[in-house]
Amino acid sequence: MRYLICIKQTPDTAELPKVKPEEAASGRLSVQLVVNPWDEHALEGGIRMMETYGGEASAITVGGEDAIERLRSALAMGCKDATLVKDTTADAWGVATLLAAAVRKMGNVTYVITGQMTVDGNSGTLPVALGRALGWPVLTGVARVVSADEKGITVERIVGQARHTVTAPAPAVLAVVKEIGEPRYPTFINIRKAARAEIPVWTPADLGVKVPVPVVHMSDFRKPPAREAKVVLFNGTPDEAAQALLDALLAEKVL
């Protein structure tokens, strides 16, 4: 069995507020880039499936050359190989089209595993789009894999506070949630292997597809305005200061 884990390079969550709209539009970000935190759970989920059910876990991303470093992180966690599909123009449907073409080119993928969404785009549409592009069943909200083999898979999905147990035939697309497992540390041996690994780069032409022209555009994004804090020092004797504070609190309708 082969598990293909789809990861995306995103800004570090702590750095997200620093991203400017112009940068986001151009795709060239000056902030610290990491593996999308949700996708770290996808990596953990896929590697655990490899350990439990046998086969190989592979990582793939659609992005620029710099995304190769993120693939190295996936290898350091334990993926056996990784592939970069080089494109920075596609929207979610375009990425799904490219990934579906890559899956077909590989020919032996049993399960595609994705995170639940990305911390930058936040659309959560990719797994569904990919299922559509491949014509495979899609299981979202996967919190636990109960059993899996060449023929099919049984998983637990988290639905609000409840859990569903569902079954689907292979091949299938799984979108996992963080309950699938805490991402593991890279081991030092894997870090070394990852640093030396040859990572193939496929272009849309190699895959024989044209990147669909994006139909969804982000024209603007607004951040909540920074909160303004007011600092007032009340002077005078303790009684005067207390009275002034009380007046101020009443005026602000805090009391």
Partner: protein, 404 residues
Amino acid sequence: MDFTFTAEHEQVRRAVREFAAREILPYIKENDRKQTFDRSLLPKMAAAGLLGISVPVRYGGAGFDYISLGIVAEELEYADTSARVIISVHNALNSLGVFQWGTEEQKQMFLVPQARGEKIAAFCLTEPGAGTDVAALRSVARRDGSDYIISGEKTWISLADVADHFLWFAKTDPHADPPHKGITAFMITRDMKGVTTGTIHGKLGVRAGNTGWVHCDEVRVPASHRIGFEGEGFKIAMSCLDNGRYTVAAGALGLTRAALDASLAYARSRKTFGVEIGQHQLVKRMISLMVQRVEIGRLLVYRAGWMKNMGMRNTRETALAKWYCTDASFESASDAIQIHGAYGYSDEYDVERFLRNSKGAVIYEGTRELQQLLQADYALGYREDKPLRCELPAYDPVYWQSEA
């Protein structure tokens, strides 16, 4: 000359930093306050491969070089001394000792599980009546057929209450002249009858670390657990210290860096007399000294690491790095508190912990005074290192990284 770290070294540094940020820093204040050793850290360090970082892959390690070992120590102590101490005793003092002096059978028996982190290792030299004066130790090992019977008391032993394997130094010839020629090394395991351990509380620093005593009461140890020949124990202990001191020096460098970083952040944010305190000349002086200590320390530490990689004897250079870096970290931590004013004097900030942690390393693995005597004796020609029967092998990436 080449002063650059390789890309692989940088990756190791990044990985250890991430590990420390996730597994140590969030809990350290609490563990330090409560004097608790976080045992759950060990399996995590093992899984990452930290507990065998510089041991060849064929012996269960990760196959990285001695410079990487220094980097691991530096980055762990940047977070907390207690984590670096694990590396000093488990990796350097014990495991590298077995790697250097053990037979192939002993490497399989002890080094492999230690490098994988399945067994935790400690180093038992100090006794109530023998610290700096190692030759005064009173543990005895008496031959009995194919076994030895060992009795004695060790104290101030890092990981005493945690470790499974104890590299133990005892006298097989209590009347040897000079006395250090009567010392022999043994690997004692916790499951042997007559081994008891306990923890010392109330330490000034390294309060999140485990330090204690180990007692052997007529413990029967098979001769196959004797490391090296009878009478070779003192030399073995000293070559273990060549590696232990290296990690202590590298760790102290990390602590000095931590003191500097904390001081820079505070000096840029605290204002007195209308300006950031970083603008005051006397504050600048403290900052500049810390910068100097980091740079000198780095040169001394990684020269020693490089010499180990090359297979060169480095007793003098490692001891110098240990002396300099531990003194430097104590001074830097003290200056960092000074820069923080009253806030540095409370555990709201980390710098008071830095000072408490830094003092131990000025004492263990050879006190500052012993280091000074060593350096003077080398300079005066009173001391010279003679070749050892078993030298620490030079780093050979092909040998280290191949499976067998």
